[in-house]
């Protein structure tokens, strides 16, 4: 009702005027009836009425909502004061927009990735179940979450009751060939057990999910994800029930997954039943650690007891297969954490960095407001002498910072829409199971941030200008009143904190940058310049015998090597720095058997052609490379890396020794095969930032069918120029064969560094921005001090102070907060850097180069910021200075 009144107060005022007019007429008429002259009658009527304006004002106030009116006044007043100093306002708004924008985008990502529940049914009860090797300590970064062997999974599922259901999935790759002359395409696929979608609570958008009977070897059914359905099949619903060709084999499409389903990542294009392409031998292997297990906890069972049940089964398996690499325990991890595991730390780091920047932004605006408050000191003092309440004055000043922050926040939200898009595109590791976008909660967050920032920025200056010392401004005519001294102290302490936080950010950025540079300059162990790489995989349908595979591979190598400008070519299942790919456990035949409880040795498994090592420039340490004879003839030879010898055969001559590799499921080979070591090569990194790992190389010509092959071509000049000639050679051998990931080796390496470079770049950007803000603050404070001390400087000059001395005086005055801030910041960094120590590569938290760099940068910037005002102070004309005020 009062709202109604409030909105209608203009009309009710008009009515009142009419009423008053009516009253005057009546009264005048009465008076005239009493015999007064018309003029006198009117005058008397007016006298009786009193001041009509006052009546109107009373009613107006009665109809107004006081707080709202006051708010209106405050906003109007603040707008006027802000528009009087447009430069200040624009800078302050821009600073806040930048800070709030950055904080909002990071919060958007954090919320989507870490806070929002996954889009599945009861996501809280979904866990990933891993095998776990007890040796690795808990709570350390290298706590082992090992992929699960299918045979273990089937035992878990049948022998335990703590979970409603468990499903298993693994990754796969297929060549999707066209139905109507479309280009062939290598697609990433996932194979999931039939109950996976049901377990997650996902309904296909079209068609149906797999049935239990379809989950068996050789079954040719497939589900499409929304992206491939739209992209390749033009969103035509008729595709359900039709056939598509994978690796040349027809598969029937039974369903299409909904558009939001991008689990486990957006790159997966197709889903197949888990057992469709797995041989029964593989499924019975307790050693084929290639799969992920998702489980749904029963509502009445605790995770601990469900885990204990599975753990008991696993321990039995461990005892049962002592010669296989069967882990003795299991480890669960919530699905959400599993998807976000890699980005959790960098995200938190960046969020804290952006929080620091926001704080610096607030302090800066606060600092500027204190300076303005000083200029308006007298106005405030006079108003309060006239009876303005302190609360009113504070409210008025807060209105300014609220306006700045509101405008900044608005700009920030717009900015963050853009920034979030850029960031999600640049950040390859981000899980995409939840889409990342702005929503109500994020906007609410931005608003809260906005008002918190306004309070932080506005309260301190408002309190300081309206404090008890306010009246002194009236008493003293000189500018160096007691209140301005305390205000200067306040500004200096704000600045000290600001610089302290900046130092923390600078140290963090410096460490991340150094760590990134270390990573980038790490020696991969092979030639990386002028190296073209590409992937292909020979479909098992056409290339069903080792001979056919070898024929293709050898013909390709021969043709590529004869392209003019090609120096060498290497073929393997993967290349250095391209990832982990997989490992095998083994035993050394010549060594005594392992004691019970001793860990089985393990090494990365690689396949290589005879020219692989020389083409990649991996030096031979002893023995020899593969020859053309190590081929289908099954000579069972292998080459090991120096790390393997160092780690597992110290003091031995490895050449001629034999490795027993039980898991190497070699087609047609007897189960127990010993491989003779013919050579030792030097180490390569499988991934930058990781230590070299023991590696064994099998001859690729021994006849591996299926699987991905990687070709590396060492060229004489710019490698990408060779991508078309090389692809032409592949097309001439098999026009149906798709080629993927055509990149230079440096690009491959660069991609693995993208995340490190992103965190380093972002934190550096935040740090530089903060440094800029801090230097602006420093400049502002010193300029203010200089104007304050103009007359003092004049007196000093008149008394014979030299300009150099004055310069020194002012510089020291300005640099003091910088030095205090530096000290404070260094102390804080010691604590802060420990938190992200694990993200650093080859860099200690107290890296002397970084620390001295930070100190030098900060001091240089501080001196520069102080120099201009100090210089101005020392160049003052003494007469002018003395005359000021």
């Amino acid at each position: 009702m009062s709202w109604l009144r409030f909105l209608r107060r203009k009309r009710s005022d008009a009515e009142l005027q009419d009423e008053i007019e009516a009253f005057l007429t009546e009264e005048t008429a009465d008076n005239e009836a009493r015999g007064m002259s018309p003029d006198e009658a009117r005058r008397q009527a007016r006298t009786k009425l009193g001041n009509p304006q006052k009546v109107r004002e009373t009613l107006w106030a009665q109809n107004s909502l006081l707080p709202l009116t006051n708010l209106g006044h405050d906003v109007k007043y603040a707008l006027r004061t802000l528009s009087r100093t447009p430069g200040f306002s624009v800078i302050a708004v821009a600073v806040m927009a930048l800070c709030i924008g950055a904080a909002t985008s990071l919060f958007t990502i954090v919320r989507s990735v870490l806070l929002r529940p996954l889009p599945f049914r009861d996501p809280d009860r979904l866990v990933m179940m891993y095998e776990h090797h007890r040796g690795a300590g808990a709570n350390t970064p290298d706590f082992s979450y090992n992929p699960v062997a299918p045979a273990d999974f089937y035992d878990w599922r049948s022998k335990t009751h703590g979970f409603e259901d468990m499903a298993i999935m693994t990754y796969a790759g297929y060549n999707l060939t066209g139905e109507q002359e479309e280009l062939p395409e290598a697609v990433r696929a996932a194979a999931g057990s039939w109950n996976l979608f049901q377990l997650l609570g996902v309904q296909p958008a079209l068609g149906r999910a797999f049935t239990e009977s379809e989950d068996r070897l050789g079954n040719t059914v497939v589900m499409l994800t929304w992206s491939v359905f739209q992209r390749r099949f033009a969103g035509d619903a008729q595709i359900v029930g039709r056939q598509i060709h994978l690796d040349g084999r027809p598969f029937t499409v039974v369903g299409v997954l909904p558009s939001w389903f991008t689990y486990p990542d957006a790159g997966i294009q197709l889903w197949l039943p888990y057992k469709a392409d797995a041989t029964p031998e593989l499924l019975q292997h307790h050693d084929w650690h290639q799969s992920q297990v998702v489980a749904r906890l029963r509502p009445d069972v605790s995770l601990a007891s469900a885990q204990a049940q599975v753990g008991a089964v696993q321990y039995q398996l461990h005892l049962q297969y002592p010669h296989d690499s069967v882990n003795e325990d299991v480890a669960p991890r919530s699905l959400n954490e599993d998807l976000a595991g890699n980005v959790r730390k960098p995200l938190k780091l960046m969020l804290s960095a952006v929080g620091c920047m926001l704080l610096i932004g607030c302090l800066n605006v606060s600092n500027l407001l204190v300076a303005r408050g000083a200029a308006r000191q007298k106005e405030v003092a006079i108003r309060s002498a006239l009876g303005a309440q302190r609360a009113t004055l504070i409210r008025e000043q807060l209105a300014e910072s609220v306006l700045i922050c509101a405008a900044g926040g608005l700009g920030g939200i717009l900015l963050s829409v853009l920034a979030t898009q850029l960031l999600t595109r640049a950040w390859k590791d981000l899980p995409t199971a939840q889409s990342i976008h702005l929503d109500g909660a994020v906007i609410a967050f931005a608003c809260v941030l906005m008002f918190a920032a306004a309070l932080v920025a506005g309260l301190l200056p408002a309190l300081s200008t309206t404090g008890k010392t306010m009246m002194k401004a009236l008493q003293t005519s000189a500018r160096t009143g007691a209140s301005s001294v305390s205000r200067t102290v306040l500004r200096k302490s704000l600045l000290t904190v600001e610089i302290g936080i900046t130092v923390v950010l600078l140290v963090a950025a410096g460490l991340l940058l150094k760590s990134f540079l270390q990573l980038r300059s790490a020696d991969v162990g092979c030639v990386t310049e002028n190296m073209l790489t590409l992937k292909y995989s020979l479909p098992e349908k056409q290339y069903d015998t080792p001979e056919k595979v070898n024929a293709f591979n050898e013909a390709l190598l021969e043709r590529v090597r004869t392209i003019p400008g090609v120096r060498a070519a290497a073929l393997g299942n993967t290349l250095p720095a391209a990832g982990y790919w997989g490992d095998y456990v083994f035993t050394v035949k010549e060594h005594p058997p392992l004691k019970p409880g001793e860990d089985l040795p393990e090494a990365l498994m690689r396949w290589a052609d005879p020219g692989y090592f020389s083409a990649l420039g991996i030096p031979l340490v002893s023995g020899r490379f593969f020859t053309d004879d190590e081929r289908v003839a099954r000579s069972y030879k292998l080459i090991v890396s120096r790390q393997l010898v160092r780690q597992y055969m110290p003091g031995d001559d490895p050449i001629g020794k034999h490795l027993h590799v039980p898991a190497h499921a070699h087609p047609g080979a007897p189960g127990d095969v010993d491989y003779e070591i013919v050579g030792v090569v030097s180490d390569t990194l499988y991934q930058l930032g990781q230590k070299p790992k023991a590696t064994m190389y099998f001859p690729i010509l021994e006849g591996v069918t299926g699987g991905i092959q990687m070709l590396a071509v060492h060229t004489a000049s710019e490698p990408l120029q060779f991508s078309v000639p090389v692809q032409k050679q592949i097309a001439s051998l098999d026009p149906e064969l798709p080629v993927s990931d055509v990149r230079t080796m440096n690009e491959v390496i660069g991609e693995s560094l993208v995340n490190a470079s992103l965190s380093a770049t972002l934190v550096l950007a935040f740090a530089i921005l903060s440094l800029l803000l801090a230097s602006v603050g420093l400049y502002g404070v010193l300029s203010y001090l200089t104007t304050q001390r103009t007359s003092e400087i004049g007196i000093r000059m008149a008394l014979g102070a030299q300009r150099d001395q004055l310069l020194q005086l002012m510089l020291i005055d300005g640099l003091r907060p910088a030095l205090f801030g530096l000290g404070l910041g260094l102390v804080m960094s010691f604590a802060a850097t420990r938190i992200f120590q694990s993200m650093l590569f080859g860099t200690k938290p107290l890296d002397p180069v970084v620390l001295s760099g930070v100190i030098a940068t900060l001091l240089a910037v501080a001196v520069l910021a102080c120099l201009a005002p100090a210089w101005r102070a020392s160049r003052l004309d003494p007469m002018q200075a003395l005359r000021t005020e």
């Binding site: 009702m1 009710s12 009142l16 008053i20 009516a22 009253f23 006298t47 009786k48 009193g50 009546v55």
Partner: protein, 117 residues
């Protein structure tokens, strides 16, 4: 500021609303009439300040104790008439009884015979 604001004509706080409501029992009236009636009935002991009459009328209207409409006065002039609502009648009864109690209480304190009556 007004000359007429002598102590004896100043109104007791909070009684104006009640008197306005009471006046309206006799029928609809506009501001001028209401003021005149109050002054007249109080034998000119009370003087209604216009500065408080109109805000009071609007306040009563807000509380829905009176309603208003524009009409023509007895002298054929446009005027805003106020009318007592059912709610206003109840309020008048409440206020009157409160007033009686108050008058008695003050009377007792001031040592008047038998308080009020």
């Amino acid at each position: 500021m007004r000359k007429s604001s002598q102590p004896q004509s100043a109104m007791l706080k909070g009684t104006l609303d009640m008197m306005i409501l009471r006046t309206l029992i006799g029928g609809d009236a506009h501001g001028h009439t209401i003021a005149k009636v109050i002054e007249h009935t109080s034998e000119d002991l009370l003087e209604v300040e216009q500065g408080s009459l109109y805000p009071a009328l609007h306040r009563l209207e807000d509380r829905r104790w009176v309603s208003s409409c524009w009409g023509v006065s007895e002298n054929n002039r446009k005027a805003k008439f106020y009318r007592l609502t059912a709610e206003g009648r109840k309020q008048l009864i409440r206020e009157t009884s409160r007033w009686r109690q108050m008058r008695r209480a003050i009377g007792l304190v001031m040592g008047e015979e038998g308080g009020a009556q």
